[in-house]
Protein backbone atom coordinates (compact mmCIF):
# COMPACT_ATOMS: atom_id res chain seq x y z
CA UNK A 1 0.00 0.00 0.00
CA UNK A 2 1.35 3.37 -0.98
CA UNK A 3 1.11 6.59 1.01
CA UNK A 4 -0.21 8.98 -1.59
CA UNK A 5 -3.29 11.12 -1.00
CA UNK A 6 -5.75 8.46 -2.17
CA UNK A 7 -4.03 5.37 -0.83
CA UNK A 8 -3.62 6.91 2.60
CA UNK A 9 -7.39 7.22 2.94
CA UNK A 10 -8.95 4.44 5.01
CA UNK A 11 -11.64 2.47 3.18
CA UNK A 12 -15.15 3.82 3.79
CA UNK A 13 -17.93 1.33 3.07
CA UNK A 14 -20.47 4.17 2.89
CA UNK A 15 -19.10 5.34 -0.44
CA UNK A 16 -20.97 4.35 -3.60
CA UNK A 17 -20.05 4.63 -7.25
CA UNK A 18 -21.87 7.98 -7.44
CA UNK A 19 -19.65 9.32 -4.66
CA UNK A 20 -16.56 8.14 -6.53
CA UNK A 21 -17.89 9.69 -9.73
CA UNK A 22 -18.27 13.02 -7.96
CA UNK A 23 -14.72 12.78 -6.64
CA UNK A 24 -13.37 12.04 -10.10
CA UNK A 25 -15.26 14.82 -11.84
CA UNK A 26 -14.59 17.38 -9.14
CA UNK A 27 -10.90 16.48 -9.21
CA UNK A 28 -10.80 16.93 -12.98
CA UNK A 29 -12.47 20.30 -12.61
CA UNK A 30 -10.06 21.41 -9.90
CA UNK A 31 -6.97 20.06 -11.66
CA UNK A 32 -7.87 22.02 -14.79
CA UNK A 33 -9.60 25.15 -13.55
CA UNK A 34 -8.05 25.84 -10.15
CA UNK A 35 -4.90 23.97 -9.16
CA UNK A 36 -2.60 25.28 -11.92
CA UNK A 37 -3.40 28.90 -11.00
CA UNK A 38 -4.10 28.76 -7.29
CA UNK A 39 -0.59 29.60 -6.12
CA UNK A 40 -0.45 32.64 -8.41
CA UNK A 41 -3.84 33.80 -7.16
CA UNK A 42 -2.59 33.40 -3.63
CA UNK A 43 0.55 35.43 -4.31
CA UNK A 44 -1.55 38.08 -6.05
CA UNK A 45 -4.03 38.11 -3.16
CA UNK A 46 -6.97 37.90 -5.55
CA UNK A 47 -8.90 35.45 -7.67
CA UNK A 48 -10.94 35.90 -10.85
CA UNK A 49 -14.71 36.45 -10.60
CA UNK A 50 -15.15 34.01 -13.49
CA UNK A 51 -14.28 31.11 -11.20
CA UNK A 52 -17.63 31.24 -9.38
CA UNK A 53 -19.92 30.58 -12.38
CA UNK A 54 -17.61 27.74 -13.45
CA UNK A 55 -17.79 26.19 -10.01
CA UNK A 56 -21.56 26.59 -10.18
CA UNK A 57 -21.76 24.81 -13.54
CA UNK A 58 -19.98 21.71 -12.26
CA UNK A 59 -22.38 21.60 -9.29
CA UNK A 60 -19.85 22.58 -6.63
CA UNK A 61 -21.60 25.71 -5.36
CA UNK A 62 -25.04 24.08 -5.35
CA UNK A 63 -23.99 20.98 -3.43
CA UNK A 64 -26.56 20.21 -0.75
CA UNK A 65 -28.92 23.13 -1.52
CA UNK A 66 -32.52 22.66 -2.69
CA UNK A 67 -33.18 22.17 -6.40
CA UNK A 68 -35.76 24.98 -6.25
CA UNK A 69 -32.91 27.50 -5.90
CA UNK A 70 -30.57 25.87 -8.38
CA UNK A 71 -28.87 23.43 -6.02
CA UNK A 72 -28.57 19.65 -5.84
CA UNK A 73 -29.96 18.09 -2.69
CA UNK A 74 -31.77 14.95 -3.73
CA UNK A 75 -29.61 11.98 -2.80
CA UNK A 76 -26.89 14.20 -1.36
CA UNK A 77 -25.55 12.89 1.94
CA UNK A 78 -22.63 13.75 4.20
CA UNK A 79 -20.21 11.71 2.14
CA UNK A 80 -20.51 14.16 -0.77
CA UNK A 81 -19.59 16.94 1.61
CA UNK A 82 -16.60 15.02 2.92
CA UNK A 83 -15.34 14.28 -0.58
CA UNK A 84 -15.77 17.90 -1.59
CA UNK A 85 -13.81 19.15 1.42
CA UNK A 86 -11.02 16.66 0.65
CA UNK A 87 -10.74 17.55 -3.00
CA UNK A 88 -10.78 21.27 -2.30
CA UNK A 89 -7.95 20.74 0.17
CA UNK A 90 -5.77 18.74 -2.19
CA UNK A 91 -4.25 21.68 -4.07
CA UNK A 92 -3.61 23.32 -0.70
CA UNK A 93 -4.44 26.97 -1.24
CA UNK A 94 -6.84 27.54 1.62
CA UNK A 95 -7.60 31.12 0.67
CA UNK A 96 -9.14 30.04 -2.62
CA UNK A 97 -11.52 27.63 -0.92
CA UNK A 98 -12.31 30.02 1.89
CA UNK A 99 -13.52 32.66 -0.51
CA UNK A 100 -14.99 30.41 -3.22
CA UNK A 101 -17.03 28.40 -0.72
CA UNK A 102 -17.83 31.11 1.81
CA UNK A 103 -21.51 30.85 0.92
CA UNK A 104 -21.21 27.53 2.77
CA UNK A 105 -21.39 29.53 6.01
CA UNK A 106 -23.22 32.61 4.73
CA UNK A 107 -26.14 30.98 2.92
CA UNK A 108 -27.37 28.21 5.28
CA UNK A 109 -28.86 30.70 7.74
CA UNK A 110 -30.97 32.08 4.87
CA UNK A 111 -31.91 28.61 3.55
CA UNK A 112 -32.68 27.13 6.97
CA UNK A 113 -34.26 30.09 8.73
CA UNK A 114 -35.02 32.79 6.17
CA UNK A 115 -38.41 33.66 4.65
CA UNK A 116 -39.40 32.21 1.29
CA UNK A 117 -39.17 35.64 -0.31
CA UNK A 118 -35.63 36.09 1.03
CA UNK A 119 -34.56 32.67 -0.26
CA UNK A 120 -36.00 33.45 -3.71
CA UNK A 121 -33.98 36.64 -3.97
CA UNK A 122 -30.69 35.48 -2.48
CA UNK A 123 -30.17 31.78 -3.10
CA UNK A 124 -30.41 31.46 -6.93
CA UNK A 125 -27.80 34.11 -7.84
CA UNK A 126 -25.45 32.92 -5.08
CA UNK A 127 -25.68 29.29 -6.21
CA UNK A 128 -25.16 30.40 -9.82
CA UNK A 129 -21.95 32.14 -8.74
CA UNK A 130 -23.22 35.54 -9.81
CA UNK A 131 -23.59 37.05 -6.37
CA UNK A 132 -21.88 36.48 -3.04
CA UNK A 133 -22.86 36.13 0.58
CA UNK A 134 -20.69 36.14 3.70
CA UNK A 135 -21.22 35.45 7.38
CA UNK A 136 -20.35 38.12 9.94
CA UNK A 137 -20.19 37.13 13.58
CA UNK A 138 -16.74 38.22 14.78
CA UNK A 139 -16.18 41.79 15.92
CA UNK A 140 -13.04 43.77 16.67
CA UNK A 141 -13.98 43.37 20.34
CA UNK A 142 -13.89 39.56 20.14
CA UNK A 143 -14.87 36.40 18.29
CA UNK A 144 -14.92 33.61 20.83
CA UNK A 145 -17.50 35.15 23.11
CA UNK A 146 -20.28 35.34 20.53
CA UNK A 147 -22.94 36.08 23.14
CA UNK A 148 -21.14 39.31 24.03
CA UNK A 149 -21.27 40.84 20.55
CA UNK A 150 -21.95 44.57 20.47
CA UNK A 151 -23.15 45.52 16.97
CA UNK A 152 -26.67 46.83 17.57
CA UNK A 153 -29.85 46.74 15.50
CA UNK A 154 -32.51 49.03 16.92
CA UNK A 155 -36.06 48.78 15.66
CA UNK A 156 -37.40 51.95 14.02
CA UNK A 157 -40.79 51.42 12.38
CA UNK A 158 -40.43 48.70 9.75
CA UNK A 159 -36.63 48.95 9.76
CA UNK A 160 -33.71 48.09 11.98
CA UNK A 161 -30.97 50.66 12.33
CA UNK A 162 -27.62 48.91 12.53
CA UNK A 163 -24.47 50.34 14.13
CA UNK A 164 -21.13 48.69 14.86
CA UNK A 165 -18.50 46.72 12.98
CA UNK A 166 -17.43 43.18 12.10
CA UNK A 167 -13.94 41.96 11.30
CA UNK A 168 -12.07 38.99 9.82
CA UNK A 169 -15.03 38.51 7.47
CA UNK A 170 -14.13 36.02 4.74
CA UNK A 171 -15.37 37.09 1.32
CA UNK A 172 -16.30 40.40 2.89
CA UNK A 173 -14.95 42.58 0.09
CA UNK A 174 -16.94 40.75 -2.55
CA UNK A 175 -20.14 40.07 -0.62
CA UNK A 176 -23.47 41.37 -1.93
CA UNK A 177 -25.17 40.30 1.29
CA UNK A 178 -23.90 39.56 4.75
CA UNK A 179 -25.69 37.28 7.21
CA UNK A 180 -24.90 39.35 10.27
CA UNK A 181 -25.20 38.67 13.98
CA UNK A 182 -26.58 41.75 15.74
CA UNK A 183 -27.85 42.70 19.16
CA UNK A 184 -31.57 43.40 19.06
CA UNK A 185 -32.27 42.83 22.73
CA UNK A 186 -30.58 42.83 26.12
CA UNK A 187 -27.24 41.34 27.14
CA UNK A 188 -26.16 37.78 26.45
CA UNK A 189 -27.18 35.11 23.95
CA UNK A 190 -30.89 35.88 24.22
CA UNK A 191 -30.47 39.37 22.83
CA UNK A 192 -28.87 38.25 19.56
CA UNK A 193 -30.59 38.14 16.14
CA UNK A 194 -29.44 37.36 12.61
CA UNK A 195 -30.02 39.98 9.95
CA UNK A 196 -29.43 39.85 6.21
CA UNK A 197 -27.66 43.09 5.31
CA UNK A 198 -27.21 44.11 1.67
CA UNK A 199 -23.81 45.70 1.10
CA UNK A 200 -25.24 48.41 -1.15
CA UNK A 201 -27.18 49.83 1.79
CA UNK A 202 -26.43 53.40 2.75
CA UNK A 203 -24.08 53.66 5.71
CA UNK A 204 -22.29 50.38 4.94
CA UNK A 205 -18.55 50.46 4.21
CA UNK A 206 -15.66 48.00 4.25
CA UNK A 207 -11.88 47.76 4.12
CA UNK A 208 -9.71 44.77 3.23
CA UNK A 209 -7.61 43.10 5.92
CA UNK A 210 -4.28 43.04 4.22
CA UNK A 211 -1.20 40.88 4.70
CA UNK A 212 -2.45 37.85 6.56
CA UNK A 213 -0.23 34.92 7.59
CA UNK A 214 -2.12 32.65 5.17
CA UNK A 215 -5.31 32.56 3.08
CA UNK A 216 -3.85 35.31 0.89
CA UNK A 217 -6.23 34.71 -2.02
CA UNK A 218 -9.22 35.28 0.22
CA UNK A 219 -10.75 38.73 0.54
CA UNK A 220 -11.01 39.11 4.30
CA UNK A 221 -12.61 42.37 5.39
CA UNK A 222 -13.64 44.62 8.19
CA UNK A 223 -17.23 45.84 7.80
CA UNK A 224 -18.62 49.06 9.24
CA UNK A 225 -22.27 49.82 9.85
CA UNK A 226 -23.11 53.47 10.36
CA UNK A 227 -26.85 53.90 10.84
CA UNK A 228 -27.56 51.29 8.17
CA UNK A 229 -31.33 50.91 7.70
CA UNK A 230 -32.37 47.31 7.06
CA UNK A 231 -36.00 46.28 6.43
CA UNK A 232 -37.54 44.11 9.15
CA UNK A 233 -38.23 41.41 6.52
CA UNK A 234 -34.46 40.85 6.43
CA UNK A 235 -34.56 39.19 9.82
CA UNK A 236 -33.23 35.62 9.50
CA UNK A 237 -35.29 33.43 11.81
CA UNK A 238 -37.14 35.09 14.66
CA UNK A 239 -36.02 38.08 16.65
CA UNK A 240 -33.68 37.16 19.55
CA UNK A 241 -33.21 33.66 18.10
CA UNK A 242 -29.93 34.47 16.41
CA UNK A 243 -27.83 32.39 18.77
CA UNK A 244 -29.63 29.23 17.75
CA UNK A 245 -29.04 30.05 14.06
CA UNK A 246 -25.35 30.66 14.74
CA UNK A 247 -24.86 27.48 16.75
CA UNK A 248 -26.52 25.20 14.17
CA UNK A 249 -24.41 26.80 11.49
CA UNK A 250 -21.22 26.14 13.43
CA UNK A 251 -21.71 22.36 13.42
CA UNK A 252 -21.61 22.01 9.64
CA UNK A 253 -18.82 24.57 9.34
CA UNK A 254 -16.73 22.60 11.85
CA UNK A 255 -17.35 19.30 10.07
CA UNK A 256 -16.23 20.88 6.80
CA UNK A 257 -13.15 22.38 8.39
CA UNK A 258 -12.23 19.11 10.11
CA UNK A 259 -12.56 17.19 6.84
CA UNK A 260 -10.40 19.75 5.07
CA UNK A 261 -7.76 19.73 7.81
CA UNK A 262 -7.40 15.95 7.72
CA UNK A 263 -6.97 16.13 3.95
CA UNK A 264 -4.38 18.90 4.29
CA UNK A 265 -2.50 16.69 6.73
CA UNK A 266 -2.67 13.93 4.13
CA UNK A 267 -1.18 16.26 1.52
CA UNK A 268 1.73 16.83 3.91
CA UNK A 269 2.15 13.08 4.27
CA UNK A 270 2.15 12.63 0.49
CA UNK A 271 4.76 15.36 -0.02
CA UNK A 272 6.96 14.09 2.81
CA UNK A 273 6.86 10.52 1.52
CA UNK A 274 7.67 11.51 -2.05
CA UNK A 275 10.65 13.55 -0.90
CA UNK A 276 11.86 10.96 1.62
CA UNK A 277 11.95 8.37 -1.13
CA UNK A 278 13.97 10.59 -3.45
CA UNK A 279 16.34 12.52 -1.24
CA UNK A 280 19.55 10.85 -0.06
CA UNK A 281 21.67 11.84 2.95
CA UNK A 282 24.52 9.92 4.55
CA UNK A 283 24.48 7.38 1.75
CA UNK A 284 20.85 6.35 1.93
CA UNK A 285 17.33 7.57 1.23
CA UNK A 286 15.76 9.77 3.92
CA UNK A 287 13.06 7.11 4.04
CA UNK A 288 15.67 4.63 5.22
CA UNK A 289 16.63 6.64 8.31
CA UNK A 290 14.64 5.35 11.25
CA UNK A 291 13.95 8.87 12.54
CA UNK A 292 12.25 9.78 9.24
CA UNK A 293 10.37 6.48 8.99
CA UNK A 294 8.92 7.13 12.42
CA UNK A 295 7.85 10.65 11.49
CA UNK A 296 5.95 9.26 8.52
CA UNK A 297 4.40 6.43 10.49
CA UNK A 298 3.27 8.88 13.15
CA UNK A 299 1.69 11.17 10.57
CA UNK A 300 -0.24 8.25 9.16
CA UNK A 301 -1.26 7.13 12.65
CA UNK A 302 -2.78 10.53 13.46
CA UNK A 303 -4.44 10.79 10.05
CA UNK A 304 -5.97 7.35 10.51
CA UNK A 305 -7.39 8.36 13.86
CA UNK A 306 -8.82 11.59 12.47
CA UNK A 307 -10.37 9.82 9.50
CA UNK A 308 -12.03 7.25 11.73
CA UNK A 309 -13.34 10.02 14.01
CA UNK A 310 -14.62 11.97 10.99
CA UNK A 311 -16.42 8.91 9.76
CA UNK A 312 -17.98 8.31 13.17
CA UNK A 313 -19.28 11.90 13.30
CA UNK A 314 -20.60 11.81 9.73
CA UNK A 315 -22.32 8.50 10.44
CA UNK A 316 -23.92 10.01 13.53
CA UNK A 317 -25.09 13.00 11.49
CA UNK A 318 -26.51 10.70 8.83
CA UNK A 319 -28.41 8.88 11.59
CA UNK A 320 -29.74 12.22 12.84
CA UNK A 321 -27.63 11.99 16.00
CA UNK A 322 -24.86 14.53 15.42
CA UNK A 323 -23.35 15.58 18.73
CA UNK A 324 -21.99 19.17 19.01
CA UNK A 325 -19.48 18.15 21.69
CA UNK A 326 -18.05 15.35 19.58
CA UNK A 327 -17.93 17.67 16.58
CA UNK A 328 -16.15 20.37 18.58
CA UNK A 329 -13.47 17.89 19.70
CA UNK A 330 -13.21 16.50 16.18
CA UNK A 331 -12.24 19.98 15.05
CA UNK A 332 -9.48 20.00 17.69
CA UNK A 333 -8.35 16.50 16.71
CA UNK A 334 -8.14 17.65 13.10
CA UNK A 335 -6.26 20.89 13.74
CA UNK A 336 -3.74 19.11 15.96
CA UNK A 337 -3.26 16.47 13.28
CA UNK A 338 -2.84 19.09 10.59
CA UNK A 339 -0.36 20.99 12.74
CA UNK A 340 1.66 17.86 13.45
CA UNK A 341 1.73 16.77 9.81
CA UNK A 342 2.66 20.25 8.58
CA UNK A 343 5.51 20.42 11.08
CA UNK A 344 6.87 16.96 10.34
CA UNK A 345 6.55 17.28 6.56
CA UNK A 346 8.36 20.60 6.74
CA UNK A 347 11.17 18.93 8.70
CA UNK A 348 11.44 16.10 6.19
CA UNK A 349 11.58 18.55 3.29
CA UNK A 350 14.39 20.49 4.96
CA UNK A 351 15.49 23.65 3.17
CA UNK A 352 13.29 23.14 0.07
CA UNK A 353 10.17 23.16 2.21
CA UNK A 354 11.00 26.67 3.35
CA UNK A 355 10.80 28.03 -0.19
CA UNK A 356 7.49 29.57 -1.19
CA UNK A 357 5.18 27.94 -3.71
CA UNK A 358 5.01 24.39 -2.37
CA UNK A 359 2.00 22.80 -0.76
CA UNK A 360 3.60 22.06 2.59
CA UNK A 361 4.84 25.59 3.07
CA UNK A 362 1.34 26.95 2.37
CA UNK A 363 -0.32 24.44 4.68
CA UNK A 364 2.16 25.30 7.41
CA UNK A 365 1.00 28.92 7.21
CA UNK A 366 -2.64 27.91 7.24
CA UNK A 367 -2.59 25.81 10.39
CA UNK A 368 -3.48 28.67 12.73
CA UNK A 369 -6.45 30.03 10.84
CA UNK A 370 -7.93 26.55 11.02
CA UNK A 371 -7.08 26.11 14.68
CA UNK A 372 -8.63 29.50 15.57
CA UNK A 373 -11.36 30.26 13.00
CA UNK A 374 -14.78 28.63 13.31
CA UNK A 375 -14.16 28.17 17.03
CA UNK A 376 -10.67 28.01 18.55
CA UNK A 377 -9.23 24.88 20.12
CA UNK A 378 -9.71 26.29 23.62
CA UNK A 379 -13.32 27.24 22.95
CA UNK A 380 -13.99 23.83 21.38
CA UNK A 381 -12.72 21.99 24.46
CA UNK A 382 -14.75 24.25 26.67
CA UNK A 383 -17.87 23.67 24.62
CA UNK A 384 -17.35 19.92 24.68
CA UNK A 385 -16.86 19.86 28.43
CA UNK A 386 -20.15 21.73 28.81
CA UNK A 387 -21.91 19.41 26.35
CA UNK A 388 -20.72 16.39 28.25
CA UNK A 389 -22.25 17.87 31.41
CA UNK A 390 -18.95 18.19 33.26
Amino acid sequence: MALDFDSARLPNPNLTEAHEAWRTQLRRFIDTEIAPFADDWDEAGAMPDALWPRAAAVGLLGLGYPEAYGGTSEGIDSWYHWITAEELARFAVGGVNASLMVHGIGLPPVINWGSEAMKQVVAPPVLAGEKHISLAITEPGGGSDVAALSTTAVRDGDHYVVNGSKTYITGGMRADWVSTAVRTGGEGARGVSMLLIPTDAEGFSRTPLDRKMGWWASDTATLYFDNVRVPVENLIGREHQGFLVIMTNFNSERMGMAAAMEALGRVCLEEAVTWAQERRTFGKRLADHQVIRHKIAQMKQKLNATQAYLRACYEAIEAGQGNPGDIALLKVQASETMEFCAREAMQVLGGVGYLRGNRVERIYREVRVNAIGGGSEEIMRDLAARQYGL
Partner: protein
Protein backbone atom coordinates in the same frame (compact mmCIF):
# COMPACT_ATOMS: atom_id res chain seq x y z
CA UNK B 1 -28.88 6.69 -35.13
CA UNK B 2 -27.73 4.57 -32.24
CA UNK B 3 -24.16 4.96 -31.01
CA UNK B 4 -22.44 2.36 -28.83
CA UNK B 5 -19.48 3.49 -26.74
CA UNK B 6 -17.10 1.16 -24.95
CA UNK B 7 -15.67 2.32 -21.62
CA UNK B 8 -13.00 0.65 -19.52
CA UNK B 9 -12.17 0.92 -15.81
CA UNK B 10 -8.45 1.56 -15.38
CA UNK B 11 -6.05 2.97 -12.81
CA UNK B 12 -6.41 6.76 -12.77
CA UNK B 13 -3.81 8.39 -14.99
CA UNK B 14 -2.46 10.40 -12.06
CA UNK B 15 -1.59 7.36 -9.97
CA UNK B 16 2.06 6.37 -9.76
CA UNK B 17 1.58 2.65 -10.17
CA UNK B 18 3.73 0.19 -8.27
CA UNK B 19 4.49 -3.43 -8.96
CA UNK B 20 3.42 -5.93 -6.33
CA UNK B 21 6.32 -7.22 -4.26
CA UNK B 22 6.02 -10.70 -5.80
CA UNK B 23 6.01 -9.24 -9.33
CA UNK B 24 2.69 -10.92 -10.14
CA UNK B 25 0.91 -7.71 -11.23
CA UNK B 26 0.47 -4.00 -10.63
CA UNK B 27 -0.66 -3.25 -7.08
CA UNK B 28 -4.31 -2.17 -7.33
CA UNK B 29 -5.01 -2.17 -3.60
CA UNK B 30 -6.65 1.12 -2.55
CA UNK B 31 -5.69 2.77 -5.82
CA UNK B 32 -7.91 5.35 -7.50
CA UNK B 33 -9.69 3.96 -10.57
CA UNK B 34 -11.21 6.00 -13.39
CA UNK B 35 -12.63 5.75 -16.87
CA UNK B 36 -9.85 5.23 -19.42
CA UNK B 37 -9.08 8.71 -20.85
CA UNK B 38 -9.48 7.55 -24.47
CA UNK B 39 -12.87 6.04 -23.59
CA UNK B 40 -13.89 9.32 -22.02
CA UNK B 41 -13.11 11.01 -25.34
CA UNK B 42 -15.27 8.37 -27.04
CA UNK B 43 -18.19 9.15 -24.72
CA UNK B 44 -17.77 12.88 -25.32
CA UNK B 45 -17.81 12.39 -29.09
CA UNK B 46 -20.97 10.29 -28.92
CA UNK B 47 -22.69 12.82 -26.67
CA UNK B 48 -21.73 15.64 -29.04
CA UNK B 49 -23.24 13.67 -31.93
CA UNK B 50 -26.42 13.41 -29.92
CA UNK B 51 -26.42 17.10 -29.07
CA UNK B 52 -25.94 17.87 -32.77
CA UNK B 53 -29.04 15.83 -33.55
CA UNK B 54 -27.06 13.17 -35.42
CA UNK B 55 -27.31 10.41 -32.83
CA UNK B 56 -30.60 9.51 -31.19
CA UNK B 57 -29.33 7.24 -28.44
CA UNK B 58 -25.94 6.71 -26.79
CA UNK B 59 -25.30 3.41 -25.05
CA UNK B 60 -22.24 2.92 -22.84
CA UNK B 61 -20.93 -0.61 -22.44
CA UNK B 62 -18.24 -1.91 -20.12
CA UNK B 63 -16.83 -5.35 -19.57
CA UNK B 64 -15.61 -6.30 -16.13
CA UNK B 65 -16.64 -7.07 -12.57
CA UNK B 66 -19.31 -5.12 -10.70
CA UNK B 67 -16.92 -2.26 -9.96
CA UNK B 68 -16.94 -1.20 -13.62
CA UNK B 69 -20.52 -0.03 -13.17
CA UNK B 70 -18.87 3.03 -11.62
CA UNK B 71 -17.37 3.91 -15.01
CA UNK B 72 -20.64 3.17 -16.81
CA UNK B 73 -22.37 5.59 -14.43
CA UNK B 74 -19.74 8.18 -15.23
CA UNK B 75 -20.50 7.76 -18.93
CA UNK B 76 -24.19 8.14 -18.10
CA UNK B 77 -23.40 11.31 -16.13
CA UNK B 78 -21.48 12.65 -19.12
CA UNK B 79 -24.61 12.21 -21.23
CA UNK B 80 -24.99 8.58 -22.37
CA UNK B 81 -28.61 7.40 -22.24
CA UNK B 82 -28.25 3.90 -20.86
CA UNK B 83 -25.60 1.39 -19.89
CA UNK B 84 -24.70 -2.23 -20.38
CA UNK B 85 -22.30 -4.21 -18.23
CA UNK B 86 -21.02 -7.57 -19.39
CA UNK B 87 -20.03 -9.20 -16.14
CA UNK B 88 -16.67 -10.97 -16.16
CA UNK B 89 -14.14 -11.91 -13.51
CA UNK B 90 -10.47 -11.03 -13.49
CA UNK B 91 -8.56 -9.73 -16.47
CA UNK B 92 -10.08 -10.25 -19.92
CA UNK B 93 -7.96 -10.20 -23.04
CA UNK B 94 -8.62 -7.87 -25.99
CA UNK B 95 -9.85 -10.73 -28.17
CA UNK B 96 -12.44 -11.77 -25.59
CA UNK B 97 -13.50 -8.15 -25.11
CA UNK B 98 -13.89 -7.82 -28.88
CA UNK B 99 -16.02 -10.98 -29.02
CA UNK B 100 -18.22 -9.75 -26.17
CA UNK B 101 -18.59 -6.36 -27.84
CA UNK B 102 -19.57 -8.11 -31.05
CA UNK B 103 -22.32 -9.84 -29.05
CA UNK B 104 -23.55 -6.47 -27.81
CA UNK B 105 -23.37 -5.03 -31.33
CA UNK B 106 -25.57 -7.87 -32.59
CA UNK B 107 -28.10 -7.22 -29.84
CA UNK B 108 -28.20 -3.44 -30.18
CA UNK B 109 -27.38 -2.95 -33.87
CA UNK B 110 -25.73 0.46 -33.47
CA UNK B 111 -24.77 2.46 -36.56
CA UNK B 112 -21.59 3.64 -34.96
CA UNK B 113 -19.32 2.08 -32.35
CA UNK B 114 -16.78 4.39 -30.72
CA UNK B 115 -13.91 3.02 -28.63
CA UNK B 116 -10.69 4.43 -27.23
CA UNK B 117 -7.67 3.62 -29.38
CA UNK B 118 -6.13 1.90 -26.37
CA UNK B 119 -6.48 1.73 -22.60
CA UNK B 120 -3.75 3.20 -20.48
CA UNK B 121 -3.28 0.05 -18.40
CA UNK B 122 -2.47 -2.62 -21.00
CA UNK B 123 -1.71 -0.22 -23.89
CA UNK B 124 -2.73 -3.04 -26.25
CA UNK B 125 -4.38 -1.01 -29.01
CA UNK B 126 -6.20 -4.06 -30.36
CA UNK B 127 -9.84 -4.18 -29.31
CA UNK B 128 -11.33 -1.82 -31.91
CA UNK B 129 -9.47 -3.47 -34.74
CA UNK B 130 -10.43 -6.98 -33.59
CA UNK B 131 -14.06 -5.95 -33.24
CA UNK B 132 -13.94 -4.57 -36.80
CA UNK B 133 -12.69 -7.87 -38.12
CA UNK B 134 -15.10 -10.01 -36.09
CA UNK B 135 -18.18 -7.90 -36.87
CA UNK B 136 -17.21 -7.29 -40.49
CA UNK B 137 -17.43 -3.52 -40.02
CA UNK B 138 -15.16 -0.86 -41.55
CA UNK B 139 -12.90 0.93 -39.08
CA UNK B 140 -11.39 4.38 -38.67
CA UNK B 141 -8.75 4.21 -35.97
CA UNK B 142 -6.82 7.03 -34.18
CA UNK B 143 -9.55 9.53 -35.01
CA UNK B 144 -8.97 13.24 -34.58
CA UNK B 145 -12.10 14.32 -36.49
CA UNK B 146 -15.36 12.39 -36.93
CA UNK B 147 -18.07 13.63 -39.30
CA UNK B 148 -21.24 11.68 -39.97
CA UNK B 149 -22.66 12.38 -43.40
CA UNK B 150 -25.77 10.44 -44.42
CA UNK B 151 -24.93 6.75 -44.45
CA UNK B 152 -21.21 7.39 -44.23
CA UNK B 153 -18.77 8.61 -41.64
CA UNK B 154 -15.61 10.54 -42.43
CA UNK B 155 -12.78 9.90 -40.05
CA UNK B 156 -9.57 11.90 -39.99
CA UNK B 157 -6.85 9.63 -38.64
CA UNK B 158 -3.61 10.60 -36.94
CA UNK B 159 -1.02 8.49 -38.73
CA UNK B 160 2.76 8.65 -38.56
CA UNK B 161 3.15 10.83 -41.63
CA UNK B 162 0.36 13.29 -40.75
CA UNK B 163 -3.39 13.12 -41.21
CA UNK B 164 -5.34 10.69 -43.33
CA UNK B 165 -9.07 10.97 -43.99
CA UNK B 166 -11.11 7.85 -44.70
CA UNK B 167 -14.77 7.57 -45.58
CA UNK B 168 -16.55 4.53 -44.13
CA UNK B 169 -19.98 3.07 -44.77
CA UNK B 170 -22.13 2.82 -41.68
CA UNK B 171 -22.31 0.83 -39.50
CA UNK B 172 -18.69 1.50 -38.66
CA UNK B 173 -16.12 1.50 -35.91
CA UNK B 174 -14.12 4.49 -34.74
CA UNK B 175 -11.29 4.52 -32.21
CA UNK B 176 -10.39 7.83 -30.64
CA UNK B 177 -7.08 9.63 -30.40
CA UNK B 178 -6.19 12.29 -27.87
CA UNK B 179 -7.02 15.33 -29.95
CA UNK B 180 -10.54 14.34 -31.01
CA UNK B 181 -12.14 16.49 -28.31
CA UNK B 182 -11.81 17.69 -24.74
CA UNK B 183 -14.27 15.82 -22.55
CA UNK B 184 -16.57 17.90 -20.37
CA UNK B 185 -16.94 17.52 -16.60
CA UNK B 186 -19.98 15.64 -15.43
CA UNK B 187 -21.79 18.02 -13.10
CA UNK B 188 -23.13 16.92 -9.74
CA UNK B 189 -26.79 17.13 -10.86
CA UNK B 190 -25.98 14.93 -13.85
CA UNK B 191 -24.16 12.43 -11.64
CA UNK B 192 -27.29 12.21 -9.48
CA UNK B 193 -29.53 11.80 -12.54
CA UNK B 194 -27.26 9.07 -13.90
CA UNK B 195 -28.12 6.92 -10.89
CA UNK B 196 -31.62 6.54 -12.30
CA UNK B 197 -30.67 5.63 -15.85
CA UNK B 198 -31.11 2.07 -17.08
CA UNK B 199 -28.15 -0.28 -16.69
CA UNK B 200 -28.52 -3.86 -17.95
CA UNK B 201 -26.17 -6.64 -16.95
CA UNK B 202 -25.34 -9.54 -19.26
CA UNK B 203 -23.14 -12.57 -18.77
CA UNK B 204 -20.78 -13.75 -21.49
CA UNK B 205 -23.08 -16.78 -21.87
CA UNK B 206 -26.00 -14.43 -22.66
CA UNK B 207 -23.93 -13.25 -25.61
CA UNK B 208 -22.84 -16.74 -26.59
CA UNK B 209 -19.19 -16.07 -25.80
CA UNK B 210 -16.81 -18.31 -23.91
CA UNK B 211 -14.16 -16.47 -21.89
CA UNK B 212 -10.85 -18.03 -22.85
CA UNK B 213 -7.22 -17.29 -22.04
CA UNK B 214 -4.41 -17.08 -24.54
CA UNK B 215 -1.96 -14.97 -22.59
CA UNK B 216 -0.11 -15.46 -19.32
CA UNK B 217 1.24 -12.50 -17.40
CA UNK B 218 4.77 -13.56 -16.60
CA UNK B 219 6.15 -10.72 -14.52
CA UNK B 220 5.62 -7.08 -13.65
CA UNK B 221 8.62 -5.10 -12.51
CA UNK B 222 9.33 -1.39 -12.07
CA UNK B 223 11.61 0.33 -14.58
CA UNK B 224 15.23 0.61 -13.52
CA UNK B 225 15.90 3.49 -11.13
CA UNK B 226 17.41 6.51 -12.79
CA UNK B 227 21.00 7.29 -11.90
CA UNK B 228 21.69 10.68 -10.36
CA UNK B 229 22.82 13.30 -12.89
CA UNK B 230 26.13 15.15 -12.95
CA UNK B 231 27.17 18.65 -13.94
CA UNK B 232 29.76 18.98 -16.68
CA UNK B 233 32.23 21.85 -16.93
CA UNK B 234 32.10 22.48 -20.66
CA UNK B 235 30.45 21.56 -23.93
CA UNK B 236 33.59 19.64 -24.91
CA UNK B 237 33.31 17.51 -21.81
CA UNK B 238 29.62 16.87 -22.59
CA UNK B 239 30.40 15.78 -26.14
CA UNK B 240 33.23 13.61 -24.88
CA UNK B 241 30.97 11.90 -22.36
CA UNK B 242 28.18 11.37 -24.88
CA UNK B 243 30.69 9.81 -27.28
CA UNK B 244 32.83 7.74 -24.98
CA UNK B 245 30.76 7.01 -21.86
CA UNK B 246 27.14 6.96 -22.98
CA UNK B 247 28.18 5.98 -26.52
CA UNK B 248 25.09 7.64 -27.99
CA UNK B 249 26.82 9.81 -30.60
Amino acid sequence: MKVLVAVKRVVDYNVKVRAKADGSDVDLNNVKMSINPFCEIAVEEAVRLKEAGVATEVIAVSIGDKACQEQIRTALALGADRGIQVETEGAVEPLVVAKLLKGVVEKEEPQLVILGKQSIDGDNNQTGQMLGALAGMPQGTFASVVKVDGDRVQVTREVDGGLQTVSLTLPAIVTTDLRLNEPRYASLPNIMKAKKKQLDVYTPADLGVEVTKHLTLVKVEPPAERQAGIKVESVDELVDKLKNEAKVI
